[in-house]
């Protein structure tokens, strides 16, 4: 197991050197990839010295000095937090998010804050005010979004682990496009305290890693009840054990469903790779059956109607009066309007306006309320599947990464790329993406879903796929 071996290596080799090498790589190559907005070099170097002392005494935390990059919509005390926007270009976070506290306690070293689509509005990492992130596998292609820098910094070898956030696929999409592991936890498993909200009923932070063990390790650390986020629940915190104890023959106990709707309109090359992995799991004893999820085809409109509404409400706090970018005006209305006009990017404006429109009294019933009712239908679909199966398997993305700039001008084509990932957020269940092959030299991700708070089942599935793909 890659991440486990790395931790063992660090206990006998120099941590300072390990961190130094990461920084050197970043300085050499990140000008091109653009995965970081703010680096934390001095602090990371100091931490490596401190943690080295702990390692020498054998009293280090679970993360043992591993480098971790953090999406720039999660607060790290005294570091700039921009959310990829001009709005917060100079905002310095005054406190640590709950998950950052936990990572620091376990001796994770925060190496920098990652580039992202502006306020997480985007699916390909190109809408950041700080310029697009490039895909380390081929810099002409998008890395996926919105946690573009998290996935890219990991794929480029700038960090050992990363944290992103997933509202409708923002962890799984870039994980798939960059060829790393990404995990969207169940709603309520990981605290959102210190996460800048985009759509509060759908989103949450989650880990990126180079293997299932790395995902489980971070999940053990960041999950659990937080009095500062009332939707959170207790966590078993035994995810690493689940992965470590998984044996080849445990594959036989997995009951896995695949839905034809998750393959409709999917690139043939991706489809073939995923179907091949499904056959492999079946040949190793997993029980695989076809099921139907009839409402998935409506997931995009339902999801975006909810996102627009919650997003326009979340953005109302950015008026420039308290903090952030500010432009004056003759009166308060004009001052706020000018400020917002000159600091928000096009996709942010689009969503703010659409959200305002569909929640106006005369249109609310036609759009927003209907979406909320339809959301129940998606949740019921999944409930029915998970009454009989442990996991639902399919591709993460319907297409391979596209070239940078290709989808910027057409919002509907950008939204359509989220078709396979948004349902998990609408239903609040957990889902993952892991690399299982390549087409045209670009990575292909396999997506697994498990029921709400069934993270252990999902990790077992990820480990089974990892082993079936020849992983160690």
């Amino acid at each position: 197991m890659f991440t486990k071996d790395l931790i063992e290596d660090l206990s006998s080799n120099s941590l300072e050197e390990h961190i130094h090498k990461k920084i050197e790589e970043i300085q050499k190559k990140d000008k091109e990839i653009n995965s970081f907005i703010t680096l934390n070099i001095e602090d990371a170097q100091n931490s490596s010295k401190e943690i080295q002392k702990k390692i020498d005494k054998g009293i280090q935390g679970k993360l043992s000095g591993l480098a971790i990059s953090i999406k720039d919509n999660i607060a790290v005390s005294k570091l700039r937090m921009t959310c990829g926007s001009k709005v917060l270009e100079n905002y310095i976070a005054p406190y640590d998010a709950t998950i950052i506290n936990s990572i620091k306690k376990e001796d994770g070293i925060i190496i920098g804050k990652c580039n992202m689509d502006e306020f997480a509005c985007g699916s390909d990492g190109t809408s950041s005010y700080f310029g697009p992130t490039k895909n380390p596998r081929n810099i002409d292609y998008v890395p996926g979004g919105s946690s573009s820098g998290s996935a890219a910094s990991l794929a480029a070898g700038f960090t050992d682990l990363s944290i992103g956030s997933d509202t409708g696929g923002s962890i799984r999409c870039p994980a798939s496009f960059c060829g790393v592991y990404g995990f969207k936890p169940s709603y309520g498993l990981v605290s959102r305290y210190g996460l800048s909200d985009m759509a509060m009923s759908l989103e949450g932070p989650g880990p990126f890693a180079k293997d299932t063990y790395g995902i489980a390790l971070l999940l053990d650390i960041i999950s659990g009840k937080d009095p500062r986020d009332t939707v959170t629940v207790e966590s078993s915190k035994s995810y690493t054990k689940t992965v470590e104890n998984f044996k080849d023959q445990d594959i036989k106990n997995l009951k896995i469903a695949y839905a034809k709707e998750f393959f409709e309109g999917v690139d043939e090359k991706i489809k073939n790779i995923i179907l091949d992995k499904i056959s492999k799991l079946e040949s190793e004893g997993a029980k695989i059956e076809e099921v139907s999820l009839p409402n998935i085809k409506y997931a995009i409109p339902i999801y975006y109607l909810v996102v627009f509404s919650e997003f326009s409400s979340a953005m109302s706090k950015f008026d420039g009066f308290k903090y952030g970018h500010y432009v004056g005006g003759q009166d308060i209305v004009e001052a706020v309007s000018n400020t917002r006009e000159t600091s928000m990017g096009i996709e942010v404006k689009r969503r703010v306006l659409l959200g305002t429109f569909i929640t106006m009294e005369e249109f609310r019933g036609r759009w927003y309320t209907k979406a909320l009712k339809a959301r129940s239908a998606i949740k019921e679909d999944f409930k029915r599947i998970f009454n009989s199966y442990d996991l639902l398997i399919g591709p993460t993305m319907p297409t391979l990464p596209w070239k940078i700039g290709e989808r910027i001008s057409d919002p509907l084509s950008m939204y359509s790329s989220d078709i396979l990932t948004v349902s998990a957020n609408l239903a609040g269940i957990c889902a993952s993406s892991q690399p299982v092959g390549e087409a045209k030299g670009l990575p292909v991700g396999l997506q697994l879903h498990a029921d709400s708070l069934c993270e252990s089942k999902l990790l077992k599935g990820m480990r089974a796929v990892e082993l079936a793909c020849g992983g160690i």
């Binding site: 905002y91 409109p301 975006y304 109302s316 306006l353 429109f357 106006m360 036609r366 309320t369 009712k373």
Partner: protein, 97 residues
């Protein structure tokens, strides 16, 4: 079909409520885009829906906690430093009355 036709008057009102100034060119661009997006999204009409509006996917609503002793807060300066203007230890915000 979308029965919601977005005319200039509606775009004007949306821009005002959202506190987001739009140029004439932007108004036209967004009006056209929004009609296209909502036209596509009107497939939600095909779904058989019940009466339940699902705002949250979790059961634990109205979570309360016990009152606890207030703790000292030592981040005041870190917060103040983010404000654009300060004077004599106070935060200066634009006049809004």
């Amino acid at each position: 079909m979308v029965e919601t036709i977005i005319d200039d008057n509606v775009i004007e009102r949306v821009s005002e409520i959202a506190r987001l100034k739009l140029s004439e060119k932007e108004k036209e661009k967004f009006r056209e885009e929004f009609e296209r997006i909502l036209e596509e999204f009107s497939v939600v009409d095909e779904i058989k829906v019940g009466e339940k509006e699902l705002y949250y996917v979790i059961e634990n609503v109205n979570v309360l906690r016990k009152d606890s002793e207030p703790k000292p807060f030592n981040k005041i300066n870190d917060i103040k430093n983010n404000f654009n203007k300060k004077e004599d230890g106070f935060i200066v915000v634009p006049r809004n009355l």
